[in-house]
Amino acid sequence: MHIVVCIKQVPDSREIRIDGRTGTLIREGVPSIMNPYDLHGLEAALQLREQHGGRVTVVTMGPPMAEKALKQAISLGADEAVLVTDRKFSGADTLATAYVLSEVIKKVAATWGPVDLVIAGKQTLDGDTGQVGPGIACRLDLEQLTYVEKIVAIEGGRIRVERHLEDGIEVVETALPVLLTALKEMNTVRRATFPNMLAAARYKPIVWTTADFPDIDPQQIGLKGSPTIVSKSWVPEVKKVNTTYVDGAGALWQALWTTDLPDRLGWAAREGAK
């Protein structure tokens, strides 16, 4: 089985602060990490390789410093890691990113053999759209299974998974090759062994630039190929609240009943049913 995992290096958005005066991000000192969902996607791939044999190829499109995330993937046990990097790819939105990644996956297939499974993360911490996965699936004409929390079985060229939805779990089956997007619930990410850490420290990822894609459409990549633009950003205002001080728990409970909470939370309905 050949599995391709799409990973992205992202700033740890939990550590990002906003400069209150200028409304800009303070990226300084913010660690770059592998997008957490992608890490779970990679773990899923490694587990499948253990069960079914095959290989795991990791790809990322990003700046040279994304090499660090690829090395991490190698330390966890990926077979090969590809860094797709070029000025011309930068500034891409989800449409352009998915286009390039779909070309990358074609090239991965041409280089190391046909791909049975592509795994992306549920969403990224920075882009935060969850659109790149479906975008890749469309471009490659793959079946897509998003928000997967469990791979139930892979046999006879078919895959069965559990998808996590707001109101429950959907059990779905489809034919390989397929693209799935991974949730954290899928697994617990392993800790790299020491020999793998050493291998990763010495590993040099394979680097592909636009020159490696002679047939790519320059109109569809990077900033040029991106229909969406960020026109402005601002720091959301802290809502001003007038605090009503209440005297003890009983008074608080009464006060809460004067709001719309009992309706919106169904307390009123519950009371009515009594």
Partner: protein, 434 residues
């Protein structure tokens, strides 16, 4: 597999990296193991980096490394409850040409420094804890890490794991630090726009200043505060000897909050936004707490070996020098083809002959002196000094003679008489001079 290295360095602080860089440049196969997410990830210091010792490792390093501000002005402030007696020195001599020292952030400097060692060929593995040394008899032959298949072997292991050196304890290089040998420092990084920093501290663009703070903030305990200017933030810290802190029942957090409210500091900090806080130990036992430095297969460097000159708040430079000396000793052994116990002892001799030993020897009585006289040094001296300045500068109905008599009485009263004052001065002088 069990790959064998020429040398393993535990800890990617200034000491460990200096060692790794030295050895990797000499062509050795070097492995550095660091528990942090990256070198410097959790490392805390004031902090001031000194040009000299790093220059010996990387000429002109300061033109390339990520630093905050070259320092033009250094101050001592002695605080009583509301006042501040200030002494300091400002001069362009510190920065014209090759600067004397710089403020810096470890989370930025350490990764840069480590990258130099990596470029020289050292392999650095992060997020990995060395849990113990692997011994063969009394010889250290490798390290065990907290990862699967995590044993690694080497001819030499350099222990650079910082103040709370677990590995140092394992080789019996030292005992647990006594609570009067380490201080606990809490440090806050407070974001402030650079124009504000330069205005408030009277600095030209890019210049830096430091303030060491004695007196009221430590609330009578042996301790020292500091306030340093970074590019776009201030580093505010307060360190208290662990024994005093434990006895007081106060929290460092509460003490630093209190310090921020001092009238002499409040305005400097106004509007600055808390970016991060951290706590760390500083070994302050000095020479008398310094352990055995080497044995068969191992050497111990930097904070792990108590190499901090706290009187001058120097630590990183001693760390770098000790690492360099240890690295050189390994290179010499590799060149001779023999990793004998004597080869490792060469490092101990070299430290003995260096400024590290001489500087620490000079202040070896200081920890005990401060411990024994903390009420005076931390409390009464700053108080009396503030009172003296007040009398000196105040104009009221009294004559100058009356004011000055009050100063003298105050000084005498502090120690209970002239005789005691002279004894204290003598002991203080001795503590500074072996």
């Amino acid at each position: 597999m069990s790959e064998r290295f020429d040398a393993i360095v535990v800890g990617a602080g200034p000491a460990g990296i200096a060692a790794a860089l030295t050895m990797a440049r000499g062509g050795l196969n070097v492995l550095v193991i660091e528990r942090g997410e990256f070198p410097g990830a959790k490392n805390v210091f004031g902090g001031v980096l000194y040009r000299q010792q790093f220059e010996e490792l990387i000429p002109e390093w300061w033109t390339k490394a990520p630093l905050e501000r070259p320092i033009v002005e250094q101050n001592y402030w002695l605080l009583d409850e509301t006042g501040a007696a200030k002494v300091g020195h400002r001069s362009r001599r510190y920065v014209d040409g090759k600067p004397n020292n710089f403020t810096a952030m470890r989370a930025k400097f350490d990764p840069w420094f480590a990258a130099q060692a990596e470029a020289a060929g050292a392999v650095i593995i992060c997020e990995t804890v060395v849990t113990s040394l692997i011994m063969e008899g009394d010889r250290v032959i490798g390290v065990r890490t907290d990862r699967e298949q995590g044993d690694v072997y080497a001819e030499a292991v350099i222990i650079a794991d910082g103040v709370n050196s677990l590995l140092g304890k394992q080789v019996g290089a030292h005992r647990e630090w006594a609570p009067h040998e380490v201080s606990l420092v809490v440090k806050e990084t407070l974001a402030l726009p650079k124009e504000k920093i330069e205005d408030r501290f009277g600095l030209e663009e890019g210049e830096g200043a430091t303030i060491e703070i004695l007196g009221n903030p430590s609330q009578g305990m042996v301790g020292l505060g500091f306030l340093y200017t970074n590019r776009e933030s201030l580093s505010l810290g307060l360190g208290i000897m662990v024994n005093d802190l434990a006895a007081s029942g106060r929290t460092p957090y509460d003490l630093i909050e209190n310090m921020k409210q001092h009238p002499a500091l409040r305005k400097l900090l106004q509007g600055a936004e808390l970016k991060e806080y951290a706590a760390h130990l500083i070994p302050e036992g000095g020479l008398r707490a310094m352990p055995k430095l080497a044995g068969h297969g191992w050497m111990i460097v930097g904070d792990a070996a108590q190499m901090v000159n706290f009187v001058h708040r120097e630590g990183t430079n001693l760390a770098a020098t000790s690492g360099q000396l240890a690295g050189a000793a390994v290179l010499a052994m590799a060149a001779s083809g023999s990793f004998s116990p004597e080869g490792f002892q060469r490092y101990a001799h070299d430290v003995g002959a260096s400024y590290i030993q001489r500087d620490l020897a000079k202040y070896q009585r200081m920890p005990a002196f401060l411990h024994d006289n903390r009420d005076l040094v931390m409390g009464k001296v700053p108080q009396v000094l503030n009172e003296s300045f007040y009398q000196w500068f105040s104009v009221d109905e009294r004559s100058k003679a009356e004011h000055q008599k009050q100063i003298i009485d105050g000084v005498k009263g502090m120690t209970g008489g002239t005789w005691n004052l002279m004894r204290l001065a003598y002991k203080g002088w001795r503590a500074m001079n072996e």
